[in-house]
């Protein structure tokens, strides 16, 4: 007989009788395998902590999203939002599915080009585009989404130097009835800035105005806001048609669709509160289809959704380093996952599962990371089973933004492993080592020696 696992004793109120308003007390989440690959074996092979991406989940999410739109609207194009996760392997999966690239900096732009994305299939967004970036993008016939009037002037200046007509769209911000209103990006719809920019572009005669873009917010829980945004963009598009007889080729509704992650401060878990991709699709397409475009001139609908396609496909695996009790009496568990690699723990109450069989007993626990910093808290309070040192656990919904916003701080960034559709594992990013960090450093000669 196998030796039973030791679990520390706890004292807990016994709940009997009828279930409460939240049903029966939840059993702890146990996840021993990801896409058929055991968590333990992954950690043994690649070390802890470890990011794991599921290719199956990514493709599945992409196809569901695409289908939600294409069965409602005839012309749909997805563009992978690089900032959400720009690991080459991840981007390649979306490009294989047919996604274009949506980038917001010269660095991301170069990364997309390096990966083999054709210039004309890159959408260049964001407020930071240098003159050199713009020249490159114009030469490559990329789609430039102008963020502000100074950028417009800069592009017009560039057209005097190079003999290629830039393909541009403007980013529009607007009141869609939600708070906060992202008025810092693009030109405002209500105060006429958007029209001012459109007039300037049309009258300049030097730019190909081919699209309109908006991105109304992030982790949006109100599909109706998209409906309003699509209506307002359509107003602009049809206005351009009326005023300049100019057809807009595409409407880019940006991204910001919520994943099923649980935002901090929201009472119910994300799986129950987040609208589905179908809700967003219905809101956007119904607005476009009822906007009185002629059938032949229906614009292409571009979507830059990132998070909703990848959040659920990413897992962060970790190991318990120590347990302690805080003076409040709350249990605390210290793990090897810090906020430096799980940046999104500032926004979300990440779902956590344990990676080995355990009893049903749980205890409210604070889950801390390994950093010598007070802010290094993964979950302030989570019902966890009684974990021992060396036990493993899985942080869910970690696919979006972490592998782009993580930082090398105190500890180094771990490996990222991809599980392909056949269940094989591939390292898609190596862990950092002392070498990696030192590589970039330079020590002036006079500091090269010291004695203590």
């Amino acid at each position: 007989m196998e030796k039973k696992k030791y679990e520390r004793p706890i004292i807990k109120q016994l709940v009997t009788g009828v279930p409460g308003k939240f049903g029966r007390p939840e059993k702890p989440n146990i996840m021993t395998h990801i896409d058929g690959v055991s968590v333990k074996s992954l950690l043994n092979e690649y070390g802890s902590p470890l990011f794991v991406m599921s290719e199956k989940k990514m493709r599945e999410k992409y196809q569901t999203a695409k289908q939600a739109f294409t069965t409602r609207y005839p012309k749909v194009q997805m563009a992978w939002s690089y900032k959400t996760n720009y690991l080459d392997a991840v981007c390649s999966i979306y490009h294989q599915e047919g996604s274009w690239a949506e980038v917001v900096s010269g660095f991301e732009y170069d990364k997309a080009i390096e990966l083999g994305v054709e210039g004309s299939k890159i959408i260049f967004n964001g407020p930071t585009k240098s003159e050199a970036d713009l020249i490159k993008a114009i030469t490559n016939e990329s789609l430039i989404h102008i963020d502000n009037i100074d950028e417009l002037y800069l592009i017009l200046k560039i057209t005097e130097k190079i003999n290629i007509r830039p393909k541009v769209a403007i980013r529009v911000n607007m009141d869609t009835g939600i708070y906060p209103m992202w008025d810092r990006f693009g030109f405002n719809y209500e105060n006429g800035m958007a029209w001012e920019a459109l007039n300037k572009i049309m009258h300049s005669g030097k730019l190909d105005l081919i699209g309109l873009h908006t991105h109304i917010g992030t982790f949006m829980l109100a599909p109706n806001a998209y409906k309003i945004a699509a209506q307002k963009l359509s107003d602009l598009a049809l206005g351009l048609k009326k005023k300049f007889s100019h057809n807009i080729k595409y409407i880019d509704m940006g991204g910001g669709f919520a994943s099923t992650n649980s935002l901090k401060g929201i009472y119910m878990p994300g799986v129950d509160t987040s609208p589905s991709i179908d809700d967003f699709a219905e809101a956007i397409t119904s607005a476009l289809l009822s906007a009185h475009y002629s059938t032949e001139e229906l614009p292409v609908l571009i979507l830059e959704t990132g998070r909703a396609l990848i959040d659920e496909a990413g897992y962060l695996l970790g190991t318990v380093l120590a347990n302690k009790r805080l003076i409040s009496g709350q249990r605390a568990t210290i793990a090897d996952i810090g906020v430096n690699i799980l940046f999104t723990s500032f926004w979300y109450d990440h779902k956590i599962s344990v990676a080995q069989e355990m009893t049903d007993f749980t205890e409210p626990t604070a889950l801390f990371g390994p950093l010598c910093m007070n802010i290094d808290v993964i979950r302030e309070n989570v019902e966890l089973p009684l974990l021992n040192i060396g036990d493993n656990f899985v942080v869910h919904y970690a696919g979006a933004y972490n592998m782009t916003q993580w930082m090398q701080f105190i500890t180094m960034r771990p490996k990222v492993v991809l599980i392909d559709e056949q269940g094989r594992t591939h390292i898609i990013r190596e862990n950092e080592s002392l070498e990696t960090i030192k590589q970039l450093e330079k020590v002036p000669e006079y500091l090269s020696k010291f004695e203590l």
């Binding site: 069965t71 004309s120 699209g211």
Partner: protein
């Protein structure tokens, strides 16, 4: 002189020539020239025929009749026959030519009148005008004393001596010594008799010309004649009648008209040629006795009557019986008609079906097709049930206990074709999953009237989801309502059927979907006029704006085509998009006088027909872009068949021509693939590869590859590769 005539009447020569070849239902300069020559075997007859033709064509032109018809020779060929008939009857004299001129005018007027009468019935006027004209004139001239009956044609040797010296007499004598069977001699004489040349030489020349011009026509002339010959033999009729009166040509002309020209050549048309023979015989013998009273020959009366009656009867058919099929597009050569018909019946059903699309957006899965296992049975067997499935094949997400879990629920349903909404049911509750509403089994339904007797019905729609009202006119693709779960529907799905009556419970009719994309993973195939099968994932073709504008050819557009051959030779051609009065649109190559006809509908570009030089660049352009869907689908292989008329006259093609009504052993296969696409929004670049492979039985004996580049919304480059030979054409809009 010719120049001067040309300045007044530009297509004068063509119109005269076509009058000659039209006697054999052709528009062919070679055949015409030979026939013209044959009429001059008797010089004065030839002169009379030519004169009558010219006078008629000119008069028709001066009056201002339809110049297309004049050029085609429609008004000339009856006059030609009248001219020939008078020419052989009378001695040449000024009086004769004056009478001839008025005879030509009379024939023209008769032609127009008879055409007007027959047109209503959709049948051709054949040589009726000739018959009326020649009879009237023959009767009338009995009163004209200035005309002398000719003795030519009776003393043939004298005539030949006068015409071609002793050499022609020798040839004639030699021909007579040929060991030709009696039947063959009559056959040749009958052929000659069509042009009032009662001699074997004329017949032999005509037969050879006919063989070179069209194998099927030649074959039919033999079949027509010999079935008559054997019939006479069998019935014990006087074979001399066939010989003496030279009326054998009635059988020949009927055979060509019925066997291959007015009817598409096939084993059925050939059978009818044989079956119609006794009828002609009856008419000839019967009418001869009546006409004998006034001493008039029957000429081609029997041919005219039998053809017109038979054609009229075929027009009355109410069954969709295509055997034998009436020629819908006349290309003036049985082979061309046959190859075109074979090809277009494979490619298009335009005559038969209205083009209807998949009535949804995006990719849907057929959960029940025609003759389905659940409810598509008996009177309701021709229907489609559509759902949406994910990659794993599931039709719902989460538990599937709520209708909202189903992918297809609440998705837009669009009009399959333009029409008027005639019926809407919109107030029936959606069922809970697993329940059915037997009482209102069709649930919420929209019925659209597309044509008289053609309706589409879309059922099980979501309650209150209708976006249209009764009486609304919708166009193809307009959103009608949303998919629901009402009526006899346990799970959300869309029921789609075509019917011939406007009622909810109407029975279904077989009706293929005009064009759709069928997907297997990321492999797409393009289907035309097909019924989607169960579990097939289907979607409407989503057009690509760049492809669409690249294939938007407007009459009046001119193109400069610069050609570079592999040996470095360069030259320039000029193409123009033109439209004829029947709204056929085609590319016209001025240098080679070639035409490539095309149509562009339902987001597909098709070339339909080519005439002219088969070595020209336009010809290669025609086969390279034979069929192009105007939506970009990377993993899709588009296939089609080219008509065999694209082949040149090599021995195997000639053999194929002979057996074509029964059997095809040569095939020309076409395929096309999209290779690359970049820059969708302004300076598009699309690369297409297409290929034509010629097959003998199943073995490929020749392949030609094409690379097509579309840049900036227009076709810019065509590269033709065959073996090591590469020819490039750069096409530029002027």
């Amino acid at each position: 002189m010719v120049k001067k005539i040309k300045s007044v009447f530009p297509n004068f020569l063509e119109s005269v020539l076509h009058s000659y070849s039209l006697i054999f239902f052709g528009k062919n300069n070679f055949l015409a020239s030979v026939l013209l020559l044959v009429t001059f075997l008797d010089f004065y007859t030839g002169i009379a025929g030519l004169l009558a033709t010219i006078i008629t064509s000119f008069t028709a032109y001066l009056i201002g009749l339809n110049s297309k018809k004049i050029i085609s020779g429609y008004y000339g060929f009856n006059s030609l026959l009248v001219g020939l008939g008078l020419g052989i009857q009378f001695q040449p004299s000024l009086e004769l030519y004056i009478i001839l001129a008025f005879a030509a005018l009379l024939t023209l007027l008769l032609t127009v009148s008879i055409e007007g009468f027959f047109q209503k019935y959709g049948i051709p006027y054949l040589t009726f005008p000739f018959l009326f004209a020649i009879w009237i004139i023959t009767l009338a001239t009995r009163q004209y004393e200035a005309l002398n009956i000719s003795e030519r044609g009776i003393y043939i040797l004298n005539d030949l001596q006068n015409w071609g010296g002793s050499f022609s007499v020798i040839i004639y004598k030699w021909l007579n010594t040929l060991p030709l069977s009696e039947s063959l001699v009559i056959y040749f004489k009958s052929l000659g008799a069509i042009f009032f040349q009662y001699n074997i030489l004329a017949g032999i020349i005509i037969a050879i010309a006919l063989l070179i011009y069209s194998r099927i026509s030649f074959l039919l002339s033999l079949i027509g004649f010999f079935s008559a010959y054997f019939f006479y033999d069998f019935i014990g009729a006087n074979i001399d009648e066939l010989n003496y009166n030279y009326i054998g040509f009635n059988y020949i002309l009927t055979a060509i008209a019925m066997g291959g020209f007015l009817i598409i050549p096939s084993r059925y048309s050939f059978l009818w040629v044989v079956l119609l023979t006794p009828l002609i015989s009856l008419f000839i013998s019967g009418s001869a006795i009546i006409l004998d009273i006034v001493q008039l020959p029957v000429y081609s009366l029997a041919f005219n009557i039998v053809v017109v009656m038979f054609l009229y009867a075929l027009n009355w058919r109410i069954r969709f019986n295509r055997k034998p099929a009436i020629t819908s597009m006349q290309l003036f050569k049985p082979e061309l008609n046959l190859y075109y018909q074979n090809n277009s019946s494979e490619r298009f059903y335009h005559n038969k079906y209205l083009s209807i699309r998949v009535p949804v957006l995006g990719e849907w899965t057929v959960s029940q097709s025609y003759n389905g296992e659940y409810t598509h049975k008996e009177e309701w067997q021709h229907a489609l049930d559509l759902i949406i499935t994910d990659n794993a094949g599931n039709q719902f997400t989460s538990s599937g206990e709520n209708k909202e879990d189903y992918y297809c629920y609440n998705k837009p349903v669009v009009a399959p074709a333009a029409g008027t909404v005639v019926k809407i049911v919109d107030k029936i509750e959606d069922n809970l999953i697993g329940n059915v509403n037997i009482e209102n089994n069709w649930g919420n339904t929209i019925i659209i009237k597309h044509l008289d007797g053609l309706y589409s019905k879309l059922s099980h729609l979501r309650k209150n989801s209708s976006k249209v009202k009764t009486g609304d006119y919708v166009i193809k693709g307009d959103i009608l309502a949303y998919c629901g779960n009402s009526g006899r529907s346990a799970y959300p799905h869309l029921h789609f059927q075509m019917q011939s009556t406007p009622y909810i419970a109407s029975k279904t009719i077989f009706y293929p979907i005009a064009n759709f994309i069928s997907a297997k993973g990321k492999k797409y195939s393009f289907l035309s006029y097909a019924i989607p099968k169960k579990d097939e994932k289907i979607s409407d073709i989503v057009f690509n704006e760049n492809l669409k504008s690249a294939f938007q050819f407007v009459p009046g557009q001119m193109f400069d085509v610069n050609i570079t051959k592999s040996n470095g030779k360069k030259f320039q051609l000029s193409w123009e998009v033109q439209a004829d009065i029947y709204n056929n649109i085609y590319f016209y190559c001025k240098d080679t006088k070639s035409k490539a006809f095309f149509i562009n509908n339902d987001n597909i570009h098709y070339f339909t027909h080519f005439s002219g030089d088969k070595n020209s660049m336009l010809f290669y352009f025609y086969i390279a872009l034979f069929k192009v869907p105007l939506g970009y689908y990377k993993e899709m292989n588009i296939v089609d068949c080219l008509p065999l008329s694209i082949l040149k006259n090599r021995p195997q093609k000639i053999l194929q021509d002979f057996v074509a009504p029964f059997f095809t052993f040569l095939h020309a296969k076409y395929s096309l693939k999209f290779v690359r696409k970049s820059d969708d929004f302004s300076k598009s670049r699309i690369e297409i590869k297409s290929n034509v492979s010629l097959k003998r039985i199943k073995k490929t004996y020749r392949t030609i590859d094409f690379d097509i580049k579309i840049i900036n919304n227009s076709i810019e480059k065509l590269k033709i590769k065959e073996g090591n030979k590469i020819v490039t054409a750069t096409i530029k809009l002027k």
